[in-house]
């Protein structure tokens, strides 16, 4: 469905996107990466908001940069961070946005707006100004507007930042439900989210795709190579020098380090590999290179 080919984009001399190649099928696609990896830049390129220096993006056979308008009709986009006009109620604002999407018929528009407000549990609050909404409500409003007109390409850029765990769950449930017959691209830096939700994922770092595949495949590729152990504070630097430490966590006052290598290091135990290990391992690999 969505094809990104040799996409490059530089921004003030530094490469934001470096020769990106991706093919995304229907379903939920997760984009992982640290801050500044180029996730948003890639998302914005797909969402017709910026042109690339070279390469192209194709959606359902349509070139995104040349026919932005056509793509926009089928696109639902939830930016990482957005605002709303002050003092306009949720229902009025959504109605306005629906009109901009192209709902000309008044009753149809009304119906579409109401059902989206119900779907996102905002119907009770529909007369309140969106600018007074809490973070979760505002995010739900964001998804409501992204779903206007039943788009088949949905792009959500770090949607769960600032949401409480419950709200986050609800949000993902909704996305999962939608992803059955649509392309949903989700960017996040929370690895767990991707492993739980996505059928496919990619890891980005410094403007490049460093790893791509289904979470299960990625995890199995690393199985048997990840070891965990408790490390004393004093010996930490020594351990780091001798092993490939991909992450350190504090747990109950102690430091637990994860190491990737073929043989079991001394004092370390085999660990169940999760996507986070894959992520850290990939980043650590990139760092060495």
């Amino acid at each position: 469905m969505l094809k990104v080919c040799n996409l490059s984009k530089s921004y003030k001399g530094s490469l934001a996107l470096n020769n990106i190649n991706l093919t995304i099928k229907k379903g939920m696609f997760g984009l992982l990466g640290p801050n500044g990896a180029g996730k948003s830049s890639l998302m914005r390129s797909i969402a017709t908001l910026q042109s690339a220096d070279s390469g192209y993006i194709e959606y359902d056979g349509i070139c995104v940069s040349a026919h932005a308008h056509e793509v926009r009709r089928r696109l639902g986009y939830l930016p990482q961070d957005f605002g709303v006009y002050p003092n306009i109620s949720a229902i009025r604002l959504l109605d306005h946005l629906a009109a901009l999407k192209g709902f000309a018929n008044k009753s149809q528009r009304k119906e579409a707006v109401s059902s989206l407000l119900i779907k996102t549990n905002l119907y009770e609050q529909r007369k309140r100004a969106v600018s007074t909404f809490s973070g979760g409500m505002k995010q739900r409003f964001g998804i409501a507007q992204a779903l206007l007109g039943d788009p088949d390409l949905i792009i959500v850029d770090e949607p769960t930042a600032g949401l409480d765990p419950q709200e986050r769950n609800r949000f993902y449930n909704l996305l999962c439900e939608l992803s059955e017959d649509k392309v949903v691209v989700l960017s996040t830096h929370i690895v767990e989210d991707v492993s739980e939700l996505c059928t496919e994922c990619a890891i980005m770092n410094r403007g490049e795709i460093v790893l791509q595949g289904s979470p299960a495949n990625l995890i199995s590729s690393l199985s048997g190579q990840v070891w965990r152990g408790v490390v004393a504070k004093e010996t930490l630097s020594q351990v780091e020098q001798s092993y490939n430490v991909i992450s350190k966590k504090r747990f109950a006052g102690e430091i637990i380090a994860s190491v990737v290598q073929d043989e079991q290091p001394e004092g370390f135990l085999p660990a169940t590999v999760d996507l986070e290990d894959v992520y850290f391992a990939t980043l650590a690999q990139a760092k060495i290179q």
Binding site: L75, G83, V84, S115, M137, D150, R170, E177
Partner: protein, 1182 residues
């Protein structure tokens, strides 16, 4: 902590760019002033105290707005950057905190305020020290004079503004509200100032003083103190802390401090209320799962028109819902209704539609600028600032739809402003009794021209903001552009076109075509900007200009390309048309020639500077006027006589005012070019001997193009005089360069002598206006028009669509005549053998009867006083208001639409301007047409002062003699105001100084009439006309003064000297009045009056030296306040008393003097700069 806060705030302020931008702005303002000074002649040096005061005045209003922006930013910085919770959780005293911040802000604002004045002084010093400025623009450096405008005006104003805007900021917490308040304050200040200016002359002193106290910026105080300063005063005086001024400063200090303290209190209360507010924003619980709901797809996409309608509705509703929108509408209505309307000599004018439209153009400037600089950015940056743009960015709606919806919404604000203002203006018209309201003119001028102009400016604004980094830079760029357009030539002044004047007689005339070309020029550029504007439209918040530029070629549709191409063609075509006709080959007027030509003229012809050319004796003209074109073709057959006693071999022929096509043919000689368009030689075949005559035939053809701005030849109301139409002979002294530096640059020798010396007897045989000629004119025009020239109609014939009129003057007349063609209504009358006609526009019937009456009264008075009227007809003809004067030709008086016809004289006690102007022009039939002045200094007095005097005597006779007090008050004000702007010379050698030969001359003649008696003066004037008629020379002021001196006593001779040979001022003051015990025998109270009197002579700079006063001056006891010049004084007693320098005691007896006013010189026969102290009221209680 206090000091720390101040220091921290100062550090923060100085670490931002804003303060440096403001400083730079103010510094460049003063540098610009210095530069301007250096390039033009000024009466006052650049470093004179008055210059500092003027600078302070100029900077005051700008500072008001700048302070608002600056203080608002600083005061709101905690709020803007959400810092207040961090700050107020610390153990600080909020009072101390706010005061410390205000101190810091005031320090900066105070410094900025002083910057213009100080920088002016410094740059003048630098310019002088390093000889960058010519020496005569720099005077002695008196640094102490820098201090008083700073201490009295700038620093207190800065404090008031700072306190006020800080207070508003911390209470309302909105930069916009602060901006709105500052705008309201600017409006209030401007209005207060305008009202105070009106009140200074028209209203009572108390009204004026009240307005001055309320004037926060103290502009009216500056005017009040400096308005009558002479050139000398401007260099030696500075502002003083007069009681009313002190009151103003103290009042505003207390008021702004109170507001400041109140604001802190309110902000403390607000803070304690804050937690309660948050309670209602509680999160609602939402269900764990999302309800099953279908998502609706869009069935079919609507048309662009539907999108546009939706978006427009959204934007307009948004605008209309804002309080600021209603604020600006209210402001516009307020300005329309309450700005003072023009008036002359306190006489209001009928509120004709064109006058109202001009009024709107002035008062709506501010609201329109507010839209461009405040509302447009608000609209444009709405998505980006609310960050809703992040969502909207990838919606399937086209840029041009978003752009045009916003554009129309902005235009909607402007149209709403214009609409409510027009309604207010129509209401004013209806209230004033105008019945024929020209709605079409409103629609065309306001709805068409004005809206178009604003639409162009909006397009520019949208473009500038589209390519700006942020709202502030966009707004600043627009502000700079709008300011710059005020100074640039029309072709570079965006959306502007040369000024357009409407006349009821002739509409906009030819200028409308010029305006349309300019509109095509700016309109097509605006379309290009609009297309670029929407192509580059920043939809979201993060797209960079470079990105948008890279998208540009992709987005440029065929339609856009066609639009840009078409607009570019129109832009280039209109631009070239304007450039070709108005810059490459500009207007044909002699008045527009540059200095090179002027210098070349002097070089070529200076040898004949003192040679009188042969005089014209006979004029026979034929002129064809084509009103529809419009154009004029004319031939003049002249007969010239060498009246001098030397042969003439050649003479200078000057091009007429409009250097159209002209030629001179004669059997006596031919033209010889000197390579100049402005003048040529006419060389006689054989020198013209004394007493010999020569005939010349001149042919001219004049067809002005639309850029020429020629208002002499128009469709209805052509009026051109012979000096404008035909070439004239002899050296033209008005072609001169005065600046000594420029003279030496051009190699011109000596000083320029524009007006001939009064004692140069060569010019006693040269007339100022023209010599006596026999005159005949044959005119043709379109059949529906009447063509007119001096003389009596001797033949009239209509031939198809052309009409022919022949006028013959039976007796010799001055060689100065008009040619007119018009279609107007006429009122006829006959008075003592003279046919009277007034030709006027049918809508302007208000004052026709008054003017007719004035003509009759004038003929009566003047015939009786100065000798018979020389013609059998007298005609007054209205002409379009493109020019604003009335002029007297032999038996013919063209009278501008704007003068006399438009005055509203219904109110009781109004000074009757139509009556007075008519009388003045009729008086010229004697002064100018019977008495011919020699072409030397003082000639203006013989013509204008005597006409003014005669007219005022007719006015006094028709109304009551007190009515002249109203005239005199305005005349005195005008004289005293104007004399400070140039060097002043005494009346007897006056030249080219209207304020001397009109106002001062009239006052002097009236004073003389009072002293020697009206009938005696009139007899002398009659004698003067008679003597001059038979004299071999033309009249000079010396002749008149000699004649008067022959017939008056020595004391009156001294007065004559003071009035005509000196620039004399009196300082008359009622010092004290004491009412004594009632005299039981007579039943009257003795009233002892002490009068302080002084007399001064001023030199041409206005430097005064005291002179001995010993004169008869009137002292009166009157019932009504002498302050109200519109009412009779109700005299009880009035008599001349001998008054000497110093204190004079006068005793009067009165039956009931209590409550009355003692007034010295009640009818203002003496020129006294301060008439407020000329009277004193006696207490009521005995």
């Amino acid at each position: 902590m206090f000091i720390n806060t101040v220091r921290f705030e100062l550090f923060t302020i100085f670490s931002r760019w804003m303060v440096y931008v403001l400083a730079l702005l103010l510094v460049s303002l003063s540098a610009y002033e210095v530069f301007e000074y250096g390039t033009s002649y000024q009466i006052v040096p650049i470093n004179a105290p008055y210059t500092y005061i003027e600078l302070a005045r100029g900077a005051s209003i700008i500072l008001m707005v700048l302070t608002a922006i600056f203080v608002g930013r600083v005061a709101l910085s905690n709020h803007t950057y959400s810092m207040q919770e961090l700050i107020f959780c610390r153990p600080i005293n909020p009072w101390k905190y706010h005061i410390a911040r205000v101190v810091a802000v005031y320090f900066v604002i105070g410094t900025l305020s002083c910057l213009t004045v100080i920088m002016n002084a410094i740059s003048a010093y630098i310019g002088w020290k390093w000889s960058l400025l010519s020496y005569d623009v720099v005077g002695p450096f008196q640094w102490r004079f820098v201090v008083s405008p700073l201490v009295l005006i700038m620093l207190p104003n800065a404090l008031f503004y700072t306190l006020l805007f800080y207070a508003i900021s911390i209470v309302i917490k909105s930069q916009r509200a602060v901006a709105a308040v500052s705008m309201a304050l600017v409006v209030a200040t401007a209005l207060l100032f305008a009202w105070a200016e009106v009140a200074r002359l028209d209203e009572s002193r108390y009204m004026h003083e009240w307005l001055m106290v309320l004037d926060m910026s103290a502009l009216s105080h500056i005017v009040d103190q400096t308005v009558y300063w002479s050139a000398s005063d401007k260099q030696t005086q500075t502002l003083g802390l007069e009681p009313i001024f002190l009151l103003n400063r103290v009042f505003w200090l207390i008021a702004t401090l109170a507001v400041f303290i109140g604001a802190i209190k309110i902000s403390l209360v607000q803070k304690s209320l804050a937690p309660y507010k948050r309670k209602d924003i509680n999160e609602m619980d939402s269900q764990n799962t999302y309800p099953e709901q279908g998502i609706h797809a869009i069935e079919s996409l609507p048309s662009n028109i539907w999108f546009f309608y939706r978006q427009l509705k959204f934007e307009v509703l948004h605008v209309a819902a804002k309080p600021s929108f209603w604020f600006v509408l209210g402001l516009s209505v307020f300005l329309t209704l309450w700005s003072p309307m023009e008036s002359s000599y306190g006489t209001p004018l009928w509120r004709l539609t064109y006058a109202m439209i001009e009024h709107l153009g002035d008062v709506l400037l501010l609201p329109i600028f507010m839209v461009l600089l405040f509302y447009c950015p608000e609209l444009i940056w709405r998505e980006r600032e609310s960050r809703a743009g992040a969502i909207l960015e990838c919606y399937p709606i086209k840029n041009w739809l978003l752009w045009s919806a916003k554009f129309i919404a902005a235009l909607f604000i402007v149209m709403a402003i214009l609409a409510v203002s027009v309604v207010a203006s129509v209401k004013l018209q209806l209230d004033s009794g105008i019945e024929a309201i020209n709605i079409n003119q409103y629609l065309f001028s306001v709805g068409g021209l004005h809206v178009f102009q604003v639409a162009c400016l909006l397009s520019l604004t949208f473009f500038v903001h589209a390519i700006s980094l942020n709202r502030a830079t966009g707004t600043a760029a627009m502000a700079v552009l709008l300011l710059a357009f005020q100074f640039t030539p029309p072709m570079l002044s965006f959306a502007n076109s040369p000024p357009l004047t409407y006349s009821d007689l002739n509409g906009y005339g030819q200028s409308i075509a010029e305006t349309l070309v300019y509109f095509t020029y700016w309109g097509s550029l605006s379309v290009i900007l609009a297309v670029l504007g929407y192509l580059l439209w920043p939809r979201g918040e993060s797209t960079e200009l470079r990105t948008r530029l890279s998208f540009l070629p992709q987005q440029l549709s065929i339609k856009d390309q066609k639009l840009i191409l078409l607009s570019s063609i129109m832009f280039v075509a209109a631009g070239s048309h304007i450039f070709y006709h108005s810059i490459l080959f500009p207007a044909t007027s002699v008045l527009d020639v540059d200095e090179d030509v002027v210098a070349a003229y002097e070089h070529a012809f200076i040898s004949h500077r003192n040679k009188i050319p042969p005089v014209v004796q006979r004029v026979d003209i034929h002129a064809d006027v084509y009103p529809k074109v419009p154009s004029i073709k004319a031939t003049a057959k002249l007969s010239l006589l060498n009246s001098q006693n030397t042969p003439v071999d050649k003479m200078i022929v000057n091009s007429p005012l409009f250097m159209g096509q002209w030629k001179v043919e004669s059997g006596y000689g031919k033209l010889k070019s000197v390579g100049l368009e402005v003048g040529s030689w006419f060389v006689f075949n054989t020198p013209l001997q004394p007493g010999e005559t020569a005939d010349l035939e001149i042919t001219v053809e004049l067809a002005p193009n639309i850029y020429d701005n020629v208002s002499q030849i128009v469709e209805n109301g052509t009026f051109i005089n012979n000096k404008e139409l035909f070439p004239f002979f002899g050296y033209d002294a008005t072609m001169h360069i005065t600046d000594p530096e420029k003279r030496s640059e051009y190699g011109l020798k000596g000083e320029v002598n524009v007006v001939n010396d009064i004692d140069d007897s060569t010019f006693h045989t040269d007339s100022l206006i023209g010599e006596a000629v026999t005159f005949r004119a044959e005119l043709t025009t379109d059949a529906d028009q009447l063509a007119l020239a001096p003389g009596v109609l001797t033949e009239h014939r209509i031939d198809g669509d052309r009409a022919k009129y022949t006028y013959t003057m039976k007796q010799p007349m001055v060689n100065y005549y008009s040619i007119q063609s018009f279609k107007l209504k006429v009122k006829r009358d006959r008075h003592k053998g003279v046919d009277l006609q007034i030709h006027y526009h049918p809508d302007h019937q208000w004052n026709i009867d008054t003017m007719m009456e004035a003509a009759k009264d004038s003929l009566d008075y003047f015939s009786n006083a100065f000798g018979p009227y020389q013609y059998s007809e007298l005609r007054i003809i209205e002409f379009p208001r493109y020019r604003k004067f009335a002029q007297s030709f032999a038996n013919t008086i063209p009278f501008s639409e704007d003068i006399g016809f438009r005055h509203d004289t219904r109110r009781a006690n109004t000074y009757n301007m139509p009556y007075y102007i008519t009388a003045h022009e009729v008086a010229h039939q004697w002064w100018g047409h019977q008495l011919i002045a020699a072409n030397v200094e003082g000639a203006d007095m013989l013509i204008e002062s005597l006409a003014e005097y005669s007219a005022l005597k007719v006015v006094a006779q028709r109304y009551y003699h007190g009515t002249l007090r109203q005239y005199k008050k305005y005349a005195l004000d005008h004289y005293l105001t104007e004399r400070g702007r140039e060097l002043e010379y005494p009346l007897y050698i006056t030249a080219l100084q209207g304020f001397v030969h009109y106002e001062k001359g009239a006052l002097a003649m009236l004073a003389l009439a009072h002293s020697i008696g009206e009938s005696k003066l009139n007899q002398l004037l009659k004698k003067f006309i008679e003597e001059q008629r038979v004299s071999s020379k033309f009249a000079t002021t010396n002749d008149l003064i000699a004649l008067i001196n022959e017939h008056v006593d020595s004391k009156q001779q001294a007065l004559v000297h003071d009035l005509f040979h000196e620039i004399t001022f009196y300082s008359l003051r009622v010092d004290n009045v004491v009412v004594g015990e009632k005299n039981t025998e007579t039943g009257r109270y003795p009233v002892t009056i002490t009068i302080d009197a002084r007399k001064f002579y001023a030199d041409e700079y206005g430097k005064e030296t005291e002179a001995e006063l010993d004169d008869l001056i009137e002292v009166a006891l009157v019932a009504d306040s002498p302050e109200d010049v519109k009412r009779s004084l109700n005299e009880y007693h009035r008599q001349d008393y001998p008054i000497k320098s110093g204190l004079n005691t006068i005793l009067i007896e009165a039956y009931n003097p209590f409550g009355m006013f003692v007034v010295v010189d009640p009818y203002m026969h003496r020129i006294d700069k301060n008439s407020k102290d000329n009277f004193l009221q006696i207490d009521y209680a005995p």
